[in-house]
Symmetry: C2
Subunit: 310 residues, 2 copies
């Protein structure tokens, strides 16, 4: 038995076998596995949980299939406003960036905010300024252009509607986010989340991803959590910290806490989505109340699992 573990997600929503071509399904699975392996390698080499979740999320951000970094969706003026957060369980240090343009890997900006500033959260142009001063990689608009995301934006551009990610057919909902949780050899937990938000989004909308306690949380005493779902409902439910509190104050197991929050509390308010969770003992949960969730894990026993559907 190793004492390291990692889990990640690439978004949740209406994801069913008949909606993905075999080639696309294969590409998603390969993308998830590549990120999983990259994060796990960090842990194997005695790297920290913080470095491992950053590496896993960077790998997902660099993959245009996922709505984060390179694959970030277009906002209502054809730009990209990205959100990311990271938190480490050893000292509850955290960093978050919201509504920030032009950053190649928003999770690395969140990490720099955590490690190099006295702040936890920075927004928009101010966050970009901090990124530039701290050597965080910047990309131009061309980098963030992907044909698929552009078409998704064209489909609803000019309307007042926005989409949680991409809608291939009416009635579909996808929550495009990526995130990871890890446990390292030192017994430390960490969590990170990154997203491009909603296609055609306006008004500088921010979801749960960059909000410590809502979309992202880590505490060595309990668990590490990264969420993906209908951000507004996850925000109002303070989802990630709720799971931590159920463990800390009600002595629930990680599984019991996750089940209560994802399958009961969130369902009651229409909060569709899911999350990846890892406790200080190395237990992993990846619950979701949507049709599917891109997800992957390597457990304490070293067994790898990469899945999309239920």
């Amino acid at each position: 038995m190793e004492k390291i573990a990692i889990a990640l997600h690439g978004g949740a929503g209406t994801i069913a076998p008949h909606l993905l071509t075999p080639a696309l399904e294969k590409a998603y699975l390969a993308g998830l596995e590549a990120a999983l392996d990259a994060g796990y390698q960090v842990l194997k080499q005695n790297g920290s949980a913080t470095e491992a979740v950053a590496m896993a999320v960077v790998t997902l951000e660099d993959n245009p299939l996922f709505n984060a970094g390179k694959g970030a969706v277009f906002n209502h003026i054809g730009g990209h406003e990205m959100d990311a957060a990271i938190m480490q369980g050893i000292d509850l240090k955290a960093g978050a960036a919201c509504g920030v343009p032009s950053i190649k890997n928003p999770v690395l900006l969140a990490k720099a905010i955590m490690e190099k500033s006295e702040h936890v959260m920075m927004a928009s142009q101010g966050a970009l300024e901090f990124a530039k001063q701290n050597g965080i990689a910047i990309e131009d608009d061309a980098y963030f252009y992907t044909e698929q995301r552009y078409q998704q934006w064209q489909d609803i551009k000019g309307s007042d509607s926005f989409q949680l990610d991409h809608t291939e057919q009416k009635g579909e909902k996808k929550f495009g986010t990526v995130g990871a949780v890890a446990l390292d050899y030192h017994g430390n937990l960490a969590a990170a989340t990154s997203t491009g938000g909603m296609t055609n989004k306006k008004y500088g909308r921010i979801g749960d991803s960059p909000v410590i306690g809502a979309g992202t949380y880590a505490n060595n005493a309990t668990c590490a959590i990264s969420c993906t779902g209908h951000g507004e409902l996850f925000l109002r439910s303070v989802v990630a910290y709720d799971i931590s509190c159920l463990m800390a104050y009600k002595n629930m197991t990680l599984k019991a806490a996750c089940d209560l929050v994802v399958y009961d509390k969130l369902v009651k308010i229409g909060g569709e989505g899911g999350l990846v969770a890892l406790d200080h003992l190395g237990n992993i949960e990846m619950p979701f109340n949507s049709e599917g969730m891109y997800r992957a894990k390597i457990s304490l026993d070293g067994v790898k699992e990469v899945k999309i559907y239920k």
Copy 2:
């Protein structure tokens, strides 16, 4: 006995009798009492807790003594970036604006986001655009100019330092925030918080005030909370929701939960500040671990209390 109650704060920090002139002390007390009375009148006239906290916070925002709205501090380029949030306990609906310039009453923008949008949180220029489209009052730079705040900025402008609010002498810390909690005749709770943040702040820094679960939270099943303190530490501690969870999951009283969080958990990590809290039974707590906190309340018995020092 009435079944209504309200409490509010105007910031915490190094606030001691020898640091305030009698005239200034009187002005602070009058400002707190005016906001308290304005909010209480809403409750007396059978208004909602949501309307009451909005009214109390608007009154504090309009008072240049407090770091919110008209009295908001200057950021590092001489502008004003304000944060506000509101949440109602009946349905856990919430609205928040962060890093937004030019808004006369940021709490009313947060309320409009809650009531008129599908979102919870909006940032910066996007939030301003939403405000303009929804008839929220905008003011020019002259409105936000106050001699006191300008001098505070001049004192540290050009340096890399920032200040939590205003520092009259070295070693002083003030956490300039305003906030209110209320319980209405229908048994509904609400909380609201508003701030101009830190003098000379850079990088679009956001504190705990607009973060649901950290600086602001309300749930009819437990309590309503508005915080003021060192935002980064309050954010990482998810302070407001922590108190709610201690009540919900550990069956703590409001007082026990507040005491644990403010006098133990926050103190251990150096999290200076305080909060106002009101539970569904009408109990009020106003704990702070700093030297003073501008605060006021009207309890279920109708007794009014307006205080600054311990």
